[in-house]
Amino acid sequence: MVLFMAHRTALYDAHLAAGGKMVDFGGWDMPINYGSQIEEHHAVRQNAGVFDVSHMTVVDIAGAGARDYLRQLLANDVDRIDPGRALYTGMLNDNGGVIDDLIVYKQDNGYRLVVNCATRETDLDWMEKQAGGFAVDIHERPELAMLAIQGPKARETLAELLSGARAEAVSSLKIFAFAQDGDWMIARTGYTGEDGVEIMLPNADAVTLWGQLLAAGVAPIGLGARDTLRLEAGLNLYGNDMDNTITPWEANMGWTVMLNDREFIGRQPLLNQQENGHAEQVGLILEGKGVLRAHQKVLMPNGEEGEITSGTFSPTLGKSIALARLPAGATGKVDVEIRNKRQAAQVVKPPFVRNGEVVYKEL
């Protein structure tokens, strides 16, 4: 009797063949690493790596009302971009809390959203609920696989494996631009702080491309390194750094909120909070040894407190780093409570690492 069967991506067998250590991730059997998470991290910073991100949820929004619908649904404004461009945004609830963060791709005749797998049902329910009154068709695309190819050599290596319009797209796309060719959608986006692309494509094509990439020396990268890479890049992880009780202002996502003359869900609470003040997300670097972890308490010199939302060991810095939510205006040194001991950490402005370079600024 099978009570629960984890979902498997089209690349499940390929992960096992590559030595992937499989774990449950939001109901999916996914590789946490293929041996050494730290080596995978360096491979992406220094060369090229490929991630199977097929567990992510792809949703197409079509219909005459799609534009108006998304301008109300999302805190960022799809009118800011032309077709062929992508936009990062939060989808907020009535209190301004983040239901999910997502990327919206503006196509010639509609929009594609890529949302988190752990929030799939909540997202789809919310999107359906908000669709009343709009002529929109919300259509999930579970048949598509998704690969992220990231690193300074990623596009060069990938382009050599492709031809025609696909190779051209990989070579020439601008950042946050995308191209479609047949069933493939190639976008110059990512979650690592390195150059690279993300490709949505049919399952069978994904298996073939995965094999070609590995044969070309591109390293398979598990979810473990995906987390250290995104944290070094100062990118939020939904459920850790923000959730439906946290607004974009409190999660360093203010740049994704477009306050213009349109109404969008969560707008008024955001305006209120902007006036009344709010906590802020900053970066921390641990001065001594040890590892910062989510939920550790942060103590400010003035007695106020905050909390780490994501922490890890940074392979690039060789030190522990974290994202933390602190009272507004935090600067200088703070203490973090690690197993009942206080340890000093420096407050910084993330990202910590971009394009292989250490880039954080002390606050």
Partner: protein, 128 residues
Amino acid sequence: MSEIPAELRYAASHEWAKVEDGVATVGISDHAQDAMGDLVYVELPEVGQVVAAGDETGVVESVKAASDIYSPVSGEIVEINEALEDEPELVNNVPYEGGWLFKVQLTDEGELDNLLTADQYQAQIDSE
């Protein structure tokens, strides 16, 4: 398959002990290091500290998690592996040799009988 040397004794919490001349060298098993992933920090007890079997005597932290270390035996800490301060990855690479954690001067060698044999430890892993 992880390596489980037959000559060592094991705690259910995945530490190993090797006894020579009344001193137990303690580390974590190959299975434990593999489950933890890349170690980046090891916190060890103080030399001179007196511990009872089952006492918390340190922490190993990997990129993804922290895990407490318990002394499998009672006695006095007589040496710690200082190389781990700069090279915690020794625990991953050579868990039964250069990746040892600390040494305990035993108060009661009879305690070793409370630990698992290699076969028993293998059975525990298989049942996890």
